[in-house]
Amino acid sequence: MTTLATDPQAARSSRILTYLRPAEIYVVFLLLLIAIGPYIAPYSAYDFDPASSLLKPSWAHPFGTDEFGRDVFSRILAGARPTLLPAFASAVLGIIAGTTTGLICGLMGGRTDQWIMRGMDVLLSFPALILAMLVVTMLGGSTTILVFAIALIFWPRSARLIRSAALDIGKREFIEACRARGEGMGYILFREMLPNLRSVVIVDLALRCSYAILLSASLAYLGMGAQAPTPAWGLMVKEGQQFIQFAPWLTIFPCLTVALVATGTVLLGENVRRRFAISQRLAR
């Protein structure tokens, strides 16, 4: 009776879903960009062409060219991979660490939970960007280190979120039933608890992805991570900055790209969250 009483609400939400569907198409488009971007680029992202340096946007160069005559549009296409792949990798890594930690805290509760979460609090007390800069400066600026640095930022944040949801699941009697049966920790965490938290994890992943794009762009802008001549978007903003007064397209287009990609990922996350919210409500 209660399930059916909420029907009109579910109908309303599914309308929002159809409305939001473009977000998914958008993300598929992004993935395509990463995969085939460099191959469809009209010009090379690396070759200098002094004859056409600092051209305004035109039909031949939709986003203009930089001081070395490289096509900005092609560089942005080629930059999708070095910008997005480390971002996604770090988001996934951070979520894996955070989810595992959160699940353990949620299941164990009590003292274990307290100690782990206080440790997480220590990590949380560093401002995100400063922590990443610290790690990169200490361990060097390779992409791998960058990925780990961003994952380290996400770890406590994700752990916190998953823990709060896991505490609720961990108290349910089917988890107690598992313990009484003598199930192993791994089985309880990943086979019984995790599926019930999948919506939280997936939404968290989408949000962290967008945040990771911003972070890696910020770090590149600050000169950490990707180095010239890699066409990473953040780096492009940094390089274009010196010409901002007479060649603003050098900064505007990479900035816009970062903003659009980050927003798109957030929208997708929101979309997925709604869908899960509906299926879970119907499940009750």
Binding site: M1, A5, E173, F174, E176, A180, G182
Partner: protein, 668 residues
Amino acid sequence: MSGAENAVLRVNDLSITYGHGDHAVHAVRNVTLSIAPGEAYGLIGESGSGKSTVAFSIMGHVVGGRVSSGSIQLDRRELLTMSPREWQDVRGNRIAMVYQDPMNALNPAFRLGAQVAETLIRHRGMSREDAWAKAVDLFRQVRLPDPEQLVNRYPHQISGGQQQRVVIAMAIACEAQLLIMDEPTTGLDITTEAHILELIADLRQRLGIAILFISHNLRVVAQVCDRVGVLYAGQMVEEGPADAVLQKARHPYTMGLNGSLLPISGEVRRLKPIAGRLPDLRQVPQGCIFAPRCAYATDQCRTMDPQIQVVGKRHVSRCMFSELVPPADRFIEMGSRHAPGDSVAPQLSVVDLDYSYARRGMPLPFLARKARAKALDRVTLAIRPGETLGIVGESGSGKSTLARCIAGLRSPDRGAVRLEGRRLEPLAGQRSREARQRVQIVFQNPDSSLNPLRTVGDIVGRPLGLYNVVPEEERRKRTIELLEMVNLEERYMTRYPRELSGGEKQRVNIARALGADPEIIICDEPTSALDISVQASVLNTLIDLRTQKDMAYVFITHDLGVVRYIADRVAVMYGGSVVETGRTDQVFSSPGHPYTEMLLNAIPDGTRGRKALLEVEDSRPKPIQGVGCVFADRCLQYRGRECDEVLPPVRLGQDGHMVNCHRALASA
């Protein structure tokens, strides 16, 4: 169905529908009832029968649904067409409601007095001072202790029974004409329930207020109400004087409900539950709505809509064959049972178990030093092979903690659980696989004890793999067998818990426990979340399994009727201690402990009117754990300092009857 001329409330031909088109659920169909001034009208039915929907529609709340026909009149004023403004004058003022869960009805952020005063200031235009003074007076009327102090307290500082009294005080504050009570005692302990029922009877007598009393508990309804209406699948199937409906029911559904009631006296005989489940109200079938579950149904029942038949004085039934249906034979013989004698060595025993909660605090040693509340205090029990030990007690008596200690989910501070004399490790993870396999547990809450994302087949099949009960290729076959043992068919294998009813979920739980091929199953209130008709069939399943597989149960419940039905021996718990153990018939016929006497006395017996309750009037300080008797503050046999300061001795009666009390056993 009957209409008094001067009715306070008149519900006429009310139909309520949720959803639209093919998904429309016809939750309430053509319900007619009227309540005379000062009358108490009981509305009973299983969950999903529409009784709460009716109640909420009288309060003007039909959330997500709509009234498709009919009228609701309060004092000849139509309620359904009222504007929100007019409703403000009616709600809380002329119709007041008492909800099932008092904790939800009270705002935790406000003082109790403020919540009562709010209604008075709003509806009666009282000044703040007057309203607070009146609140104190109302608290006195609902017999709350120390009203002057209590108005300044917050909801979480008082007990559940007291909270419900506050809600009742709020409801009677404006001298409403009609009081709607939606399962007001359902979440309460039996002794508290008895007191609230007594209070309701008393208020009715003094204030002459009309009451619409909604409950699934027939005995409670019969105790409070003059007239009773029975709802089934949104339709009124029988209505009449309370005692007539309870004792001489004419509709097969009401008979079925009565047949599911656990007797509290007389011979224990097998219950006859109602088969099947509630119909899908999206397509209301032709003919009698109860026909698919009715033992007496004929072809005529399935094709023709039954009309209301007068079957007695102001007693009507919606059954074509009310005259023909034989008076219910309520019970079938229960197979004779030979419980193991005293000489048999116990299979599972619990020795001197202590458990306290406070130590599990923050990891700061100096904070952990504060007084520990003991949830279990030197609990000693034994279960013989194939025996059913019932553990009864109110909430907070430690019975669930005990179940969890036995199952290895909590580690006791002291004492041990022994299986065939061998001491078990405190936590399940440390115990041997064999030990875990032999002792299984079934939890109380059917909704949270099954993983919502696993199919029934997965859930039931899991222990088979874990304990390697049968080789892999036979697991599926074995899973189906297990489901059949609990009366579920093979088609349930692929279903998810959300597709099951409460009773079916509990059967899956039992099947999962059986999968381990255990010798002892700990049942922690397995039927307390279920409707009585469903409870009856789940209990019967447990009893059949016990006979087939020679299983021992530790059966934990707050319901004395259930214990009497299923248990060979009973342990009564109070405040973390076992105060009495003995054979079930012994404990029920000659209780040795004053607390057991109080519990037995509190069971509503289905007769109307005030009951003389055994409870102390003066308040004595709460006893200190481990010093005197835990029950000293509520005991009617209180003997003063002896009870307060000396641990009660163990008094032995015949056949292992054991009582912890300063009073000598009558039978010894």
